[in-house]
């Protein structure tokens, strides 16, 4: 009898995974709101990636001065109008997507990297480990995130980097809560008991049995949090603690624009609309992901 096995081809070995992916695409495609979310998120990502090459006035992003053109209403040359420096608002709104994207990714990324390991440890080990982690988490959760972030930024000084640091510090507890509950449930699953009964150690169980089965809710939460993190960063910008003009950032733009309301409405409306669409897009997208990845939790 031959000992070595004929290794099947990639498509044979991954037939199930491929079919699963096709199923995800199929069920995602059946929900109009998920598709709308996907479309918005795609446009957002494309603009973030290629913004500098497609906007009509790339230099306006850095805050060029063109005072002859200031506060012009929307027109064929300036689709969203111009601001008080005469910069093209369309260019600035589009260029700001890049800022928002990396703000969102950093905050959610840091929160995941901090929150997930803590959550898994709390849920899996239980006992004292859990008590300590969860009480610290509770302390963070009991203070409204944005208020805490304000305090941190106030201490560090305003600026977009400090804003991101502050928001990352307040963002991770949600992930601890989410993952802790999941790990707690997984800990008693028979397949984890089976691994323990053959002598598997904690590291192996955590890496192969617990973590891979926690990924769906983490992905769902992360995609929804992208929108919320962008909104929070914009809020900091709006109250003057985040990005500073002339850096293109939606919150900061609205902050300046509010003194020009209502006569020069376009100045505030277009960045506001961009924030609204982005948050909506990530929320719809996250909802759609939850329906396919984590169907149990979506049916209340």
């Amino acid at each position: 009898m031959s000992v070595a096995l004929a290794r099947p081809s990639f498509s044979e070995r991954h037939a199930a995974t491929l079919r699963q992916l096709r199923f995800y695409v199929w069920s995602f495609g059946r929900s109009p709101s998920s598709m709308l979310g996907l479309a918005i998120v795609s446009v957002f990502l494309l603009l973030a990636a290629f913004g500098p090459w497609i906007v009509p006035y790339p230099l306006d992003g850095a805050g060029a001065m063109n005072l002859g053109n200031r506060l012009k209403p929307p027109s064929a040359a300036h689709w969203f109008g111009t601001d008080e420096m005469g910069n093209d608002l369309f260019s600035r709104v589009v260029l700001a997507t890049r800022t928002s994207l990396w703000v969102g990714l950093t905050i959610v990324g840091v929160a995941t990297l901090v929150g997930v390991p803590l959550g898994i440890a709390a849920g899996y080990f239980g006992g004292v480990v859990r008590t300590v982690i969860m009480r610290v988490t509770d302390v963070f959760l009991s203070v409204p995130g944005i208020v805490l972030a304000l305090a941190i930024v106030a201490a560090l000084g305003p600026g977009i980097l400090n804003g991101i640091v502050a928001l990352s510090i307040v963002w991770w507890p949600g992930y601890v809560r989410l993952v802790e509950a999941k790990a707690l449930a997984l800990r008693n699953e028979p397949f984890v008991e089976a691994a323990r009964s053959v002598g598997a150690g904690h590291a192996r169980i955590l890496a192969l049995h617990i973590l891979p089965n926690c990924t769906s809710p983490i992905i769902v939460k992360a995609s929804m949090d992208m929108g919320l993190a962008i909104l929070a960063a914009a809020s900091l910008g709006f109250i003057g603690l985040g990005a500073k003009p002339p850096a293109p950032e939606w919150g900061a733009m609205i902050s300046v624009a509010r003194t020009y309301m209502p006569n020069w409405w376009w100045y505030a409306v277009f960045p506001g609309f961009a924030i609204y669409l982005t948050v909506l897009g990530f929320n719809l997208f996250g909802d759609g992901l939850r329906d396919i990845l984590d169907p149990k939790s979506s049916r209340g």
Binding site: L5, P8, P190, A194, S197, V198, A200, R204, L208, N213
Partner: protein, 312 residues
Amino acid sequence: MTAPLLEVTGLAKTYPLKGGRAVRAVDGIDLALTPGESLGLVGESGCGKSTVARLLLRLIEPTSGVIRFAGTNIATLSDAALRPFRRDAQIIFQNPHAALNPRRTVFASVAEPLVVQRIASGTELQGRVARLLQQVGLPETFLWRYPHELSGGQKQRVCIARALALEPKLVVLDEPTSALDVSVQAQILDFLQDLRTRFGLTYLFISHNLAVVRQVCDRVAVMYLGRIVEEGPAEQVFAAPRHPYTRALVASVLPPRPGALPDAPLAGDVPNAAEIPPGCRFAPRCPLRMERCTRDDPALEGNAHRVACWAA
């Protein structure tokens, strides 16, 4: 008489509750399994039979008691010292779907014991896993499949292959066929019988289904509310049960025949394991209750056929 493979004395598991109360899930049981035999552990939900399974394998920590396996008390060993025992004793769970990690292939699941115990790797590992699948009657093409592509019976066969990987002496089967259809259950029961004779395995077979236990087991122990109330040769216990609870259980079994609706032999529900009645724990529901039963707790007495009842 041969030395027992597994000998349990005074095994107990208590879960403390607030207010000084406690759930006595397993409340002092004695058991012995000789090599090669098959002992059935029967009882209704909440009687503690699944807790016993997990205690015996040290998946949960016993509150007290001795678990002697091949002469060593494993109840107090450290995780590291338990490693050899982890080869010799395996468990098969009720729900084969939950017993396999949905994110891992059949190969990864069956190979896990061999990898963890550092017994095989590389092509040798692949060959062994393929042979194990063959032994449980599954084609080699299943190696790269995921659990959700398999039927319930096929998943249970994968679990059996995983349990056999380390060539264990003792296999604890916790309701291994309860989640399966009868036609598949029959296949698996037949197969388990065959394995036992082929590899000289010792079974602790936990089930709520008396007819299934009668098919597979030589001896049977009946649990009620954390205690064994009757224990003996399967034939005797089912044909001539001595404990009133066993009698009620046997009378409740519905045979596959028309018109056989039993009179409900027991009234009421099983009490909560946090409020075990004083005296004999079955007394409040017992048709034979005497004054003494509510006062003194009967012990399991007898030789081959033991029973814990004042009226027996």
